[in-house]
């Protein structure tokens, strides 16, 4: 692999790994919360099932299909929120998602990167008007 190629920096190994082997992929039997959102730009869909016990996210699965950025971002997000209290998970913002991805996200791809966070925000907290801008 030619490490000088900018694409290989953009599509870093671990992003491709999360894309090809997504963590927590699938559905939960009886989720406390289940929500799906699509990206109107490309029609990609991500859904998330959460099992909340005693105020904690005991288990999480995501499903859907999309590009490497949206899938890796969803996979990373599920890893991050598993075991958190709902209150803790609620504080996750878009900067956290970008940081986790660790790559420069171009304006055209921001919606891809934030699709799973939107699912979480809208599904878990009914923030139907969340546009990617932080309320905090």
């Amino acid at each position: 692999m030619n490490s000088g190629n900018p694409d290989e920096q953009f599509y870093r190994e671990y992003i491709l790994d999360h894309y090809k082997n997504p963590r927590n992929f699938g559905r939960l039997e009886s989720p406390t919360i289940s929500h799906e959102e699509d990206n109107p730009l490309c029609g990609d869909v991500i859904g998330m099932d959460l099992a909340v016990e005693d105020g904690k996210i005991a288990d999480v699965r995501f499903h859907g299909r999309g590009c490497a950025i949206s899938q890796a971002s969803a996979s990373l997000l599920t890893e991050r929120i598993k075991g958190l209290t709902v209150e803790e998970a609620r504080k996750i913002n878009k900067e956290d998602v970008f940081e986790e991805l660790g790559i420069e996200i171009s304006p055209a791809r921001i919606k891809c990167a934030l699709l799973s966070l939107k699912v979480l925000k809208v599904g878990a907290w009914g923030l139907g008007d969340w546009t990617g801008e932080e309320e905090e």
Binding site: N5, P6, D7, E8, F10, Y11, L16, L41, C42, G43, D44, V45, R65, G66, C67, A68, I69, S106, A108, R109, C112
Partner: protein, 406 residues
């Protein structure tokens, strides 16, 4: 193509300043690039005789009006309309279709009427009809495609037996490049008593049209896909149909007189041109017609055919690439494709880093994407300034993406 002198692409490209940036622009079906001649025409308006049209009794306004109206004559010739009265200026294809849905549709479509669309349509030739159908209680039926991306003419013929009020279809599919048999389809639809609208957004720049031969009632197209600026377009309407239509947007310039009790409307086409129109853009579009005339649309077609054949062949040789749509002989300069294991957005991002601009997405044709069972495709599209070596860069980029995603 015997007797046709091929386009000298290197000469043509000298007219397009954008190529000095080194971009490999393969997204002309989205919006085309614009030659210096178009930019100069708009610049001349802004710097030499900027004034509003149709109202000032002074010289600048007269010059502006004359240049603005000159585009109507050029558009008339470009599509072979009978009269400039059949040429309505719009802000683009979308507005043209909405104008028809509003001005013709609300007057003529009734509860239970049938509107026939095709699965190849762009959202702008779907949603205005859905709104109209919902408002009037009309119904919509769709013509499907076969496995090669051609419209199913057998199904179309069956739907015509139900005597639709309106048949609306695109001349060329923006998502797959399929060139539909406009003359045959229109003739069949007219014989069944339907009013016919042809969406020419992709057809006008690449295939051209003779509206008298096609016999359609409406033909809508955009400036910005045919070397002109954004914000302008043409709606052709057969005079007899236009004359019976209500206005779409109401305001200045579209009236004959206004009193407190009510207003009477201007004659066609002014009746449909309310408010200050995009004057500079219409003048720019006039220069775009001149440019395409000087090159010759038949040569543009031949050039695109050559590039499309080459692109289908070159991409077809890459393992893992799926091509959508008909053979090169039945399509305009559009190649829609998918690469196994790589989402079109990821492909477009990687190609962008090779300075290649393609479209990735649903192409505003979600019913078609659902029919193909994909959420999105990658699409490369060509125009008179596109070159073979640009397709080679595209193919190299696709192979690079495959290497990264391997």
């Amino acid at each position: 193509m015997a007797g046709l002198k091929p386009i000298d692409v290197d000469e043509v490209r000298k007219d397009f300043p954008i190529f000095e940036t080194g971009v490999v622009y393969l997204d002309s079906a989205n919006t085309s690039q614009r030659p210096r001649q178009v930019l100069a025409a708009m610049d001349e308006y802004h710097t030499r005789f900027n004034a509003n049209i149709h109202r000032g009794a002074y010289r600048f306004s007269e010059i502006a009006t004359e240049r603005y109206e000159a585009t109507r004559e050029k558009a008339k010739r470009y599509i072979n309309a009978r009269s400039t009265r059949e040429i309505v200026y719009t802000r683009g294809t979308t507005e043209g279709i909405n104008l028809v849905a509003y001005g013709w549709g609300r007057k003529n479509v009734k509860a239970g009427d049938l509107i026939v669309l095709t699965i190849l349509e762009h959202h702008s030739n779907i949603v205005p009809w859905q709104i109209l159908a919902a408002e009037k209680g009309a119904r919509i039926e769709w013509v499907d495609i076969d496995d090669s991306g051609r419209l199913r003419q057998d199904q179309f013929a069956d739907l015509l037996k139900q005597e639709p009020k309106l048949v609306a279809f695109g001349q060329v599919s923006n998502a797959m490049g399929t060139v539909n048999p406009v003359v045959e389809m229109t003739a069949a639809a007219k014989a069944a008593g339907a009013t016919v609208l042809v969406d020419g957004a992709q057809g006008a720049p690449h295939a051209g049209i003779d509206v008298q031969a096609a016999r359609c009632d409406f033909y809508a197209f955009s400036s910005h896909k045919m070397l002109g600026p954004t914000g302008a377009g043409i709606l052709y309407g057969r005079r007899e149909v236009l004359e019976e239509m209500d206005p779409f947007l109401a305001g200045g310039d579209m009236i004959r007189s206004v009193r407190k009790e009510g207003a009477t409307y201007a004659d066609i086409p002014t009746r449909f041109e309310a408010g200050t129109m995009p004057i500079a853009q219409v003048i720019g579009l006039g220069a775009a017609f001149d440019y395409l005339d000087s090159v010759g649309l038949d040569r543009v077609r031949a050039h695109e055919r050559d590039l499309t054949e080459y692109a289908l062949e070159a991409l077809g040789e890459v393992p893992g690439v799926t091509l959508f749509g008909p053979p090169a002989s039945e399509r305009a300069g559009v190649v829609s494709f998918a690469v196994e294991g790589i989402h079109p957005h990821d492909l477009a991002t990687i190609l962008d880093r090779h300075r290649v601009a393609i479209r990735a997405g649903h192409h505003c044709a979600q019913p078609l994407m659902n029919r193909l069972d994909v959420t999105a495709t990658a699409r490369a599209s060509f125009y008179l300034y596109s070159r073979r070596d640009e397709i080679e860069v595209l193919v190299e980029g696709v192979r690079d993406a495959q290497r990264i995603f391997a």
